[in-house]
Amino acid sequence: MGRTLSEKVWDEHVVRRSDGEPDLLFVDLHLIHEVTSPQAFDGLRLAGRRVRRPDLTLATEDHNVPTLDVDKPIADPVSRTQVETLRRNCEEFGIRLHPLGDADQGIVHVVGPQLGLTQPGTTVVCGDSHTSTHGAFGALAFGIGTSELEHVLATQTLPQSRPKTMAVTVDGTLPEGVTAKDLVLTLIAKVGTGGGQGHVVEYRGEAIRGLSMEARMTLCNMSIEWGAKAGMVAPDDVTFDYLRGRPHAPSGSEWDAAVEYWRSLVTDNDATFDREVVLDGSAMTPFVTWGTNPGQGVPLGGAVPDPGDFGDEGDRIAADKALAYMGLSAGTPMRDIAIDTVFVGSCTNGRLEDLRAAAQVIKGRTVAESTRMLVVPGSARVRLQAEDEGLDVIFKEAGAEWRGAGCSMCLGMNPDQLAPGERSASTSNRNFEGRQGKGGRTHLVSPLVAAATAVTGRLASPADL
């Protein structure tokens, strides 16, 4: 019987298989950042272990780093200690690090792909749940905890139970103004935050094939938000065109051999999935969240739902609590919701295409008086590229703040945070309570909706301008 894409990648990485035990998988690329790694390095030191494959490991500083005054020492002493700890650990164990100030510094899930390190058919892990991003290349990529991180450092492998497989097939083409972000928010609202648990998902169908590489990363990035172990897209010419010429992509005759191998990474016609979800991409519209998990969303043209309309008691209680936290009343049209802060950035939507999309909307317009707009490139390289294209000037002329690279307001570990009660339209991935700052209220949106919202001061799409 044929195999799915994820089964092919899985099988290729099995180091050891034994009845009653998880498979031992080889890890091709281990990405590291400052927050989840210090205790793992301590564990290695305590046990007298080394890093087995520094040549398959890459570190960058992203979660804690400030996006202002990036040439000065980090002001928060606790954050500074954590970043300095990463620097010391990388030096001690011989790991390549892109520190603050380096042209390749940035969010770990932006840096790996832009260096060409994320490639089809690889296994990629990182102590960060949004590692699912890398699945956009046909890699098997998933987030791990600190104990697993230590395990990978010491052995370059991970014991993993074989997950189930799922296909998400999106037919049709996405209408103008509808992005990968809207697609994935639509999907999560349908299947719920636990809908993908235990499954590796392959995104397929005409709408997926039509997505750019960066849009595919947005989609796969949010696989974890509906509980999937990993999300993947089969590599194709879009993937190969993106990779060609990148620093760590194969070159010369190796390139041709790699492409030949990559082309084999597709689900066989006679393969079967354990589950399948089918969506119609052509019926999708801009989609935004109203609640406190990514599954609590509606079309931008819709209204805040009435918790009483939910059939399931658990959903009803959750919706009640979410509305209380968000300060919203049932029936309020989403377009009437006033926004204090617009955040464009994160590993979900902090890439060059995202910044271009937002800039195109805001060009020649101004950010509403009652609203502030933060634009945070996903990496220092993205920032440089955007500046080459003059995007920084467009944002600054509109009244937005143009910042340095990092995770920033996506999770508020640096000074970029919401104040209690402050409401954001954010291109990031999580609208959990307090995620962007204690008491902060988050609406997840696409870069297009973010930019239009900045102009009107209320949730809006470019078509509303």
């Binding site: 180091v15 398959l56 052995t155 370059q156 509980g227 209680i317 204690k438």
Partner: protein
Amino acid sequence: MEKFSVHTGRAIPLRRSSVDTDQIIPSEYLKRVTRTGFEDGLFAAWRADPEFPLNREEYADGTVLIAGPDFGIGSSREHAVWALQDYGFRVVVSSRFGDIFRGNAGKTGLLAAKVEQDVVERLWSLVESDPAVEVTVDVEAREVRAGDFTAGFDIDDYTRWRLLEGLDDIGITLSHEADITAYESSRNSLKPRTLPARSA
């Protein structure tokens, strides 16, 4: 990891679904570089409410958390498991767990016991009507027991074995080092390497 075979203790009901790891421990507590002392961050925002179960006197000694479905979704932060353990929890019972959280729990000896939702409902009402009721979680028998009530829970064989034996994963894997070396020697040479570093 300490061996875990049976645990008996009082329980705390948490009637919330989709409890994400940002709620279990907010990101401001993740800046530490140490491995212990995370109890102050556990449910930090919710603990501001005096009625939050962890603040109520009758649940003061709880070591078993009975939570709604989809507990531990979201961020991969193992700090969520550490915070629960540092606070004194040995077991979390729920009908569904976030995959990464459940994996992290299994690595550090916090038991994530997966049961049917009606079992959660039954335990909630038992504990709420008598907070002093002792709940026993038996890894050997894969059972959760409270008073006359007994129900099975799901745990994969491998995690169960590791908990019962208190085994260190890395040690197990390193005993198969020859397999890793053999894999490395026949691995596809086209795969990327981070070193030597190349830049655009």
